[in-house]
């Protein structure tokens, strides 16, 4: 309405951030299944082919059917994101769109491959030989991992902007490959792809854990639990090592984010690690302190200096409590999942069978939700910890936002759509989980033929 609107109101800025966070936080869960589920489904299909075991074949079909739904919703929720990059953050895209464009262009190719082969995999189940069908699934796996890599590389660039020269707010040269392979790309992308497999593995396993707790302990349910759980359990310890790598990287390259993650205000050497706790008036309270641990973990030396938040003016600091809390939650859940994985591994090692205790399955039933919470807290740590910058040290979020009035209204509309979408998705997935029998070619039959009529 105002041709000369220059600055967004604080309410509009908040609305834009909430909208971005909500849509990304929603998409990322679906995207994780988009990355992890094709691999698990293919493994089940392959085992089914090799052994002729009907339990594996049934698992593959059921997962493929769920994948069809998850992928469709993942695709459309991703599309709104690519719109929002411009709708909400034109100041970012107008200036740096060309710098981070390459990974997104590559991502579009990966999406094509994914969508095409998913169409083939789901709809041509009965038009291809079993072997061809299995092979048609492999590009989906590769493209899913590749798309996670590309998009997170773009995000990593926001943390470590490299590969361009700028004078007076004008880009004068760009090295797109260098921007894509910025220093933050290796730790972030590896961490994300492993997280996707953890979310899928623990998520699928928890569905079967619930069924087993309800007494359905036949081979189908045991395998449905064991296959995804084993994959996730193997990845968990690796993920913790990679998380440590990510944290060292942050300590080195984004010291203020690390200070916020740990609630360190004053630059010191020999800094303790704060477990739990909350910041009140610039001081960490009620935390369990482990002496020298932070210096040791972040820099590999118990006496190393850790930069504190006080080195930058308050307007350049992220909201400490949010970052500290979400980081703690992620790490806490990571170790809890490690404990669960060890339980499984030790019982297998000693007795060559799955744990029998209902407590194991109760904990596993929660593991899926736990992995999702860890994932979301990880992203909150990364994104909120980067504030007030949208491009670290270069562009403030407030300068990137769309100054048009009415973003608040937009946020409420988008949020209500997401609420409805969440309810519908959960409802439909629950229907699918209970569906019997599982149709042949997952998507080839109309619903009214396979069920109610």
């Amino acid at each position: 309405m105002h041709p000369l609107a220059v600055a967004a109101t604080p309410a509009d800025l908040l609305a834009a951030r909430l909208q971005m966070g909500l849509s990304l936080g929603w998409h990322i869960v679906l995207a994780c299944f988009g990355v992890g589920m094709p691999a698990m489904t293919l493994i089940a299909e392959w085992r089914g082919l090799r052994t002729g075991d009907p339990a594996y074949q049934l698992l593959a079909r059921r997962w493929a059917r769920a994948m069809g739904v998850l992928f469709a919703v993942g695709a459309v929720s991703g599309t709104i994101l690519s719109f929002e990059m411009g709708l909400l953050w034109p100041g970012l895209m107008g200036r740096y769109g060309q710098v981070i464009g390459l990974p997104f262009a590559l991502e579009a190719i990966a999406f094509f491959i994914e969508a095409i082969f998913l169409g083939i995999y789901l709809y041509a189940w009965d038009r291809l030989s079993p072997r061809q069908h299995l092979l048609a699934g492999i590009p989906i796996v590769i493209a899913g991992i590749a798309s996670a890599f590309f998009v997170v590389a773009a995000n990593a660039w926001m943390n470590q902007p490299t590969g361009f020269d700028e004078r007076h707010h004008r880009i004068i040269s760009v090295a797109p490959w260098r921007a894509m392979f910025n220093p933050a790309t290796p730790p972030q992308t590896v961490h994300m792809i492993l997280a996707a497999f953890m979310v899928t593995g623990f998520g699928l396993a928890s569905v079967y854990a619930v069924a087993m707790l309800r007494g359905r302990r036949d081979r189908y349910h045991r395998l449905g639990f064991a296959l995804p759980f084993t994959i996730a359990a193997v990845i968990t310890p690796i993920q913790i090592v990679v998380g440590d790598w990510a944290a060292r990287f942050v300590a080195e390259h984004q010291p203020i984010k690390l200070a916020a993650m740990e609630g360190v205000y004053v630059t010191q050497s020999g800094v303790p690690l704060h477990v739990g706790g909350i910041v009140v008036n610039g001081h960490m309270r009620y935390a369990l302190e482990i002496p020298y641990a932070l210096s040791l973990l972040a820099h590999g030396n118990p006496f190393a200096t850790v930069i504190g938040l006080n080195t930058v003016p308050p307007t350049d600091r992220p909201p400490v409590n949010v970052v500290h809390l979400s980081f703690q939650v992620m790490v806490g859940i990571g170790f809890a999942l490690l404990a669960l994985a060890l339980w499984w591994a030790i019982v297998w090692w000693r007795r060559r069978r799955a744990p029998a205790s209902p407590w194991f399955y109760r904990a596993s039933a929660l593991a899926g939700v736990g992995a999702v919470i860890a994932l979301e807290s990880g992203w909150v740590t990364t994104e909120v910890g980067r504030q007030p910058w949208v491009v670290y040290g270069i562009l403030r979020t407030a300068d990137a936002v769309n100054p048009a009035p009415g973003l608040v209204v937009g946020f409420f509309i988008v949020a209500s759509v997401y609420v409805v979408l969440t309810i519908a998705t959960v409802y439909v997935l629950r229907l699918l989980a209970r569906e019997r029998p599982v149709p042949v070619a997952p998507q080839e039959y109309d619903a009214d033929e396979s069920g109610a009529s």
Binding site: V69, F71, V76, S82, G86, G410, L421, V440
Partner: protein, 356 residues
Amino acid sequence: MTLATVTLAVLWVGLTLYVLLGGADFGGGVWDLIAGGPERGRETRRLVEHSLGPVWEANHVWLIFVVVVLWTSFPPVFASVASTLYIPLTLAALGIIGRGAAFAYRKVTTQLWQQRLFGAVFAFSSVMTPFFLGAAAGGIASGRVPLGIARGNLVTSWWNPTSVVAGLLAVGTAAYLAAVYLTRDAQRGHAEDLAEYFRRRALITGVVVGGLAVVGLLVLYLDERSLFVELTTGRALPLLIVSVVSGVVSLVLLVRRAFLAVRVTAALAVAGLLWGWGVGQYPMLLPGVTVQEASASRTVLAASLGALLGGAILLVPSLWWLFHLSQQPTTVRQSDTAPRGGEPPGGEPPGVEPPD
């Protein structure tokens, strides 16, 4: 030709494919919407569902392609368009969510009320999305989106005569293309009555869309004279002629039931209009901004074009395989019939079974 022009052409190819393929998928939703009650519209809906199912996600990626190539190659244009047109684009994005999710949900639900609910969302958003995308395009074509962040009027940039006609034209084209493609799909499935049903509708919408295009030219004459002049007397005239001729030929082919050939001419009619707009407006992207001025640096253009070229080597055969498979009838494998029980093996795709 400069690198920027090549990139723009690639972008326009992507846009054309989105309109021809993705557009038709929305059109399928339009026919779903007006197919009548659950009993009467059942066969129509099945055919729509069967034709869209395997391909809509791949077709949809063309839109993402257009968006990311736009922001990579012409970042200030992307920022200006998205910030000024954020109302219609937000609505289109919500429509995209509604369409895709509801389509997937309807497929796997079993109760009538669920299918009706999801079906209604699917169909309604199939109309809403092309309308708002078309309205946004109309705003750009009529020069109402200036360079700069949120510098245009947030309402009149997309709620103006050209935008309204463009929005209606988008819905109409979508419905027309869908009817044309579905006629052939029905014929291939030996559902003669459905083929007739869609042939009639293709004829009617063809005439309506042709009329709308004429109205559009009149509106353009009043609203944005320079584009009108380019289209009717300038460089874009040959493309306009291609479009008009193909449109008329399509009607003749429909009358003569040449359902395969009409696919080509109908697509040409739509593509001619789209390229006419592009050529008519070239080299201006936004008022006072040329392709050269708005483009990203050469290294970026070269890198993304290279990446897309490499991608095309993978994509073309894959896409071909997908479309090839989706046009084949199903044959249920013996070993797979067991869990369903009672399913007749082999035979027609379900969308085109004779009414029971």
